[in-house]
Symmetry: C2
């Protein structure tokens, strides 16, 4: 059913746009830049990561990321660590205070998710989780 898919598509985009606006608004209030919060978010969710990988996820060049990470190291949000097997690579990971920042930011996300699904039954929430998991796997 073509039209139905169109609706689903637009509903997804609308959701994405709204989440994006929400993220901006939240970030504006906490003193750090959006790229910094974004980086903390990614590292918090995925754990330590190589520069290259992180740059791809964020969508910037490694040149840009080097400068970005330098600033974040100064701000004590992240630290660099040698890669165990590949000496060209460098792992970036959250410091303790970076971890704290992640958890605080994550709490806001939790609250948002709770607010958005407030009228969902327990079963619906479970189904929603299943849907997202399957979609994320396909990505």
């Amino acid at each position: 059913m073509k039209n139905q898919d169109d609706h689903l598509n637009h509903a997804i985009i609308e959701f994405y746009e709204k989440l994006s606006s929400w993220e901006m608004a939240v970030v504006k209030d906490n003193g750090f830049s959006l790229p910094q919060v974004h980086t903390v978010e990614i590292l918090g969710l995925n754990g330590p990561m190589r520069m290259k990988e992180l740059a791809e996820k964020i969508g910037v060049t490694t040149g840009t990321l080097t400068v970005q990470i330098d600033k974040m190291v100064k701000a004590e949000l992240v630290q660099r660590r040698a890669h165990e097997t590949d000496r060209r690579s460098i792992l970036v990971e959250l410091t303790e205070s970076g971890q704290v920042m992640f958890e605080e930011h994550d709490k806001l996300h939790m609250q948002l998710t709770a607010d958005l699904t407030i009228q969902f039954t327990e079963a619906e929430r479970a189904q929603m989780l299943d849907f997202f998991k399957r979609i994320n796997k396909e990505f």
Copy 2:
């Protein structure tokens, strides 16, 4: 159930991050900047909009938006139009070629949505749409 909600929360964030990376990659290939595509996307979905409103959705100041829209007017993607009742306000809308660009970009989104939900049954897709609609209304 606390833990379940945590999973749903993180699945949503993961989805958001992936969509964000996808959008970046798509935009890089088409010659226009990310904010420009973003603007076209918003106007295409929501129709003509005041500068203020648009700035809020995108997450920039109106000063930034003025410059941005100037460029897009030059590129013939959008045009300014007087607001019917409030003479302070200005409506921004897509031009014909802006509309074409929106539809082309939208096709990519459609394809992505189709790919991501390829293993979903018709009923599941319908339920997914219902979930997104309810969440978007709550936002």
